[in-house]
């Protein structure tokens, strides 16, 4: 069953067409990888699906609901989480404070309370523990290493308990031990029912983790299937080598 899909999306920036009739469908509960040479439009597609960019044409649908051109906060509220290629954390806030920002309570009363209720605080700590950052709770986020920042971003995206998470290059610039760690975390969450769509250049990571891989080139999807068949698809090879 398709949980999140984009159909026929077109997005141009001035004269540069980033996406042209691009379609992708993410099955619920899957670990889907999105690969393609640089400039193929992967991050643009992500931006379009999460409300950071508007579309010129096409649709984005989530759980049967049209969310084309929705704002990022709406997308977030619907249960779609997203990380960025260049990690976006709040540098001057501590690790724990970063987590609390993500815990948004409803209603006016929420504003007056302390930074978080005991329940939220417990959940924040639980998630920090999940990614192994508990010891660094009180460190300003800007002092973290690159890999640690990625983990923090991953953790706070989880606060809202999203049903689908879009990861933009989760393994980028990260050491092999960390990559293994991340892989385990992602698998653990997937087992609990979270759907993942990830953009990655690290083939080993993608092929090892994902059960389905989509390939893009020049703004369109050119291949879609399980890792094995995609790996040997001639169009894919041409895209990477011919580009």
């Amino acid at each position: 069953m398709s949980l999140l899909q984009a159909t026929g999306v077109r997005k141009a920036f001035g004269g540069v067409v980033a996406l042209e009739g691009c379609s992708i469908s993410v099955e619920a509960g899957s670990l889907t990888g999105l690969i393609g040479p640089n400039g193929s439009g992967k991050t643009t597609l992500f931006n379009v699906m999460t409300g950071y960019e508007s579309v010129d044409a096409g649709d984005v649908v989530f759980a049967g609901q049209r969310i084309t051109n929705a704002t990022p906060d709406r997308v977030f509220q619907l249960g779609i989480g997203r990380t960025f290629q260049l990690t976006r954390i709040f540098p001057r806030l501590t690790v724990l404070e970063n987590m609390h920002v993500a815990a948004q309570r409803q209603g006016l009363a929420a504003l007056f309370g302390r930074w978080s209720s005991s329940k939220e605080h417990a959940r924040a700590l639980e998630l920090l523990d999940f990614v192994g950052l508990t010891k660094l709770s009180d460190v300003p986020a800007r002092n973290l290493s690159y890999g640690q920042k990625k983990l923090l971003e991953f953790a706070y995206v989880l606060v809202a308990e999203p049903s689908v998470i879009l990861l933009d290059e989760p393994a980028g610039g990260v050491n092999p031990t960390m990559i293994r760690y991340l892989t385990e975390r992602i698998r653990a969450l997937n087992e609990r029912g979270v759907t993942f769509l990830m953009v990655e250049h690290n083939m080993e990571f993608v092929m090892g983790l994902c059960d389905r891989v989509v390939v893009m080139n020049h703004g369109v999807t050119i291949a879609d299937g399980d890792p094995e068949s995609v790996r040997s698809d001639p169009r894919v090879l041409e895209a990477y080598l011919g580009a």
């Binding site: 991050t43 931006n47 950071y52 960019e53 990022p72 960025f84 290629q85 260049l86």
Partner: protein, 291 residues
């Protein structure tokens, strides 16, 4: 009706003067990402320098530019290196405070040197007018406009036909990328600041020849210049030209059609109105949702 036409003509001609002053401001912003709030004070400094040259050394106003512009250019470079370059943190706000501090220093020095009495420069072209139809236009407006055109054209050539200009335009578009290809961005910043201040010198002479001024005039000037560059779009040279001309025309027409008292308020209100619909100004770029 005739009055409106006259207002438009005057507006365009005085707009040219403001364009000159505003160009320096938007250029500095485009390359260095800072707002030189001292531009108004620098213009007034230029005006006083021209005045001084004329009164004490009997050097004509336009000829005097050959001295004031290089001198102010050097001053600009010096200011950038001494006070702007060292700012590493919170550049946005601190550069505003620093350039404002420089403005205060200049204003203070000028008050001490020249007193706060209003000053007006005189020359045959300031005091005599050309008759157009039923309306008199001081010659100086036309000369000033020509000066603007010449300098704007010169700036255009500099930016588009020289290697330095290419480096400058590259820095405006992407500072880091420019650095990566070996462009000395710091040097370009200093020189750009110098150019901005040199343009202020020219603008100062042009302004001083058409209006009475004193050190306090810097507030009124800088607020208008800021409005012009925002309306035009920060960093857009084309925007500064269009906005400068447009704003002055609108102000002069309002003065005639409605009242002089409200004409200056219209200036600011227009900014607010435009921003409601187009926060990036006419030719600017929207600070888009960051990646």
């Amino acid at each position: 009706m005739q009055l409106i036409v006259d207002a438009i003509i005057t507006g365009v001609l005085s707009g040219g003067i403001y364009v000159l002053m505003a160009l320096g401001l938007t250029l500095i912003f485009g390359v260095m990402d800072i707002i030189n709030v001292g531009q108004g004070a620098l213009v007034i400094l230029g005006a006083y320098l021209s005045y001084l040259l004329q009164q004490h050394f009997h050097i004509g106003l336009f000829v005097g530019l050959l001295i004031t512009m290089p001198v102010m250019f050097a001053l600009g470079v010096g200011l950038e290196v001494a006070f702007v370059r060292p700012i590493r943190w919170e550049r946005t706000t601190l550069s505003i405070l620093v350039t404002f501090a420089i403005a205060l220093l200049i204003q203070g020095a000028l008050s001490l040197g020249f007193s706060t009495n209003l000053v007006q420069m005189h020359a045959w072209y300031v005091d005599s007018s050309l008759k157009i139809g039923s309306f008199y236009l001081a010659w100086v407006y036309i000369f000033d406009f020509i000066l603007s055109v010449v300098l704007v054209a010169g700036l255009y050539l500099l930016l588009n036909r020289t290697k330095f200009g290419a480096g400058l335009r590259a820095s405006m578009q992407n500072r880091t990328a420019a650095e990566l290809v070996g462009i000395d961005v710091e040097r370009i910043s200093a020189i750009t600041f110098g150019i901005g201040v040199a343009l202020a010198a020219a603008g100062g002479m042009a302004y001083g020849a058409t209006s009475a001024f004193n050190p306090n005039s810097q507030y009124d000037l800088i607020s208008r210049l800021l409005v012009i560059i925002i309306l035009g779009g920060m960093g857009s040279l084309r925007g500064a030209v269009v906005a400068g001309l447009a704003m002055l025309v609108i102000e002069d027409v309002t003065s005639v059609v409605w009242s002089p008292v409200w004409a200056s308020t219209v200036f600011y209100m227009l900014l607010v109105v435009v921003l409601v619909f187009r926060p990036q100004g006419l030719f600017g770029q929207l600070a888009g949702r960051r990646q």
